[in-house]
Symmetry: C2
Subunit: 297 residues, 2 copies
């Protein structure tokens, strides 16, 4: 909403608050679930502000405890082929890992995402096509990222034998494969009614421990156990309300797996009241402009 006089700063303030908290808490890394950008071609102004926020919080002298043990040239497919904090010419103290969402998905002749610009600047580690293995101190973490693809396509793939392969980490000294903590970040619709247009969590493999579910806007930050699957799912929700639905009116939180909810104070609150629109079949419930226009009428 960068053209809205009142709300144009909201998403930047939230993102800045999130990065500030991450920096202050000295987290191991910040994991973004896609849609950092709402527009596939963000404006110059938005791009510059995002770069400024990342530069301000991610570059510092804090030592990074997290070591990538998988093949970085495979994990990070930019021109440099390594995790950003190992570049000798940058002082990265807060690593950010991100997949793309459906809004900032790769496009154009070189199939680049807006996130690729942040990756070229060495401010974000853009992944999401390959498994990324890392270890932080005594904990071995396998970080799986799946950038957004069409739900129908992913569903079809999950139902086709051998179409989806989950790679497991190579054995490390003193660490069995079963000792790894397996995190998946994905950016898809989460199944509700129509199974074709959403992903059923039961398609995901049982060896996963923790799933960060992007795309869904409602903040359901408390990890929910999926019965019989052995993993928990957290759904952080969008950092700011981008559509006028009930789920968006819930408080926005940061999270730690041993739940440590950090309310974001910069988020503009709103209350949700159901509005029944008569004879307006072409309203898009996710497009607030179309709703507001009709409310005006």
């Amino acid at each position: 909403m960068e053209k809205d006089e009142i709300r144009r700063h909201d998403s930047f303030q939230s993102f800045d608050e999130i990065c500030s908290i991450a920096e202050e808490k000295q987290v191991d890394f910040l994991l973004l679930g896609g849609d950092l950008f709402h527009e596939n071609k963000p404006s110059r102004s938005t791009l510059v502000k995002a770069i400024e926020i990342l530069r301000r919080h991610c570059l510092n002298d804090q030592p990074v405890q997290f070591q990538v043990v998988s093949d970085q040239t495979v994990n990070f497919q930019n021109a440099f082929g390594h995790v950003n904090y190992e570049d000798p010419h940058f002082n990265v103290g807060l690593p950010v890992f991100s997949i793309h969402g459906n809004h900032d998905d790769p496009a154009g002749v070189d199939n680049l995402s807006a996130v690729d610009i942040l990756s070229a600047c060495n401010l974000v580690n853009y992944f999401g096509k390959m498994v990324l293995g890392g270890s932080g101190g005594s904990t071995a973490v396998a970080l799986y990222g799946l950038g957004n693809i069409r739900d129908e396509r992913l569903n079809r793939m999950f139902q086709t034998p051998h179409a989806v392969q989950w790679m497991r980490p190579e054995p490390q000294e003193g660490c069995e494969v079963s000792d790894w903590f397996n995190i998946l970040v994905l950016h898809q619709n989460r199944v509700k009614m129509n199974a074709k247009n959403a992903i059923n969590e039961r398609f995901l493999p049982r060896f996963l421990d923790f799933i960060v579910w992007g795309h869904e806007h409602e903040c359901l930050i408390d990890p929910q156990e999926v019965p019989g699957m052995g993993f928990h799912i957290t759904q952080p929700g969008s950092s700011v309300a981008t559509s006028l639905i009930d789920g968006e009116s819930k408080p926005k939180h940061g999270n730690q797996y041993r739940p440590n909810k950090i309310p974001l104070t910069s988020v503009r609150p709103f209350e949700y009241t159901e509005v029944v629109l008569k004879d307006e079949p072409d309203i898009d419930p996710n497009d607030q402009n179309s709703i507001l226009e009709h409310l005006d009428k």
Copy 2:
């Protein structure tokens, strides 16, 4: 020409060659005369490639000998307010200073140029509204940058008393004002016939020593003395041919003030043949596509 199958890499190869030479020669700084980008809103692909080239050549362990002695917060109006090689979180070994041209001039609600993105990434020092004073070892250099504005407007300003003020450096210890070496980089049409649509070099102040004239595409790299004015002008020309005019067919060079011409080997050569077009009044001689279309006919 990023959509041209054959020539899409040309400008990147030239820019890469220029940066490689600058890095290899360990120059004090690289001064760009505007129009790094041909499109006001460069594509993602172009932006990523430009970032990659700058990152590859400008970040290294080379010590920077050039010290900015003027007010950096005034010179560099990004969110950080300092010259890029003084940022403690980046290893900048090759400083780049740039003004904007008419193609990549500031626009939009925040009046940002595509060069602002490179400035936010800390890869380029974008200036051009204020005098920038610097000193390199025993030489004091005043670097004046004037980003492109409409020729008519600048002409009017030059002819209005007190509308243009040239600030001189504060006295430095052991360096009289008259000892400073004064460089101006600007990006305007250079006067030929119609004085209104071009800038007459005689409007420029006599205290200047060396002028880097951007915008003009022909490479006239040998510094030409302007009789009676006491300064020399170099016109590097565009690094690649962007229009099919005679001037563009001349060899492209890099330069040092004590002339040290370095031919760019990556530039695609072409010969210029005058073409007389009959009854085609709406051809734009700077638009090669329109010319090529008519040649096909």
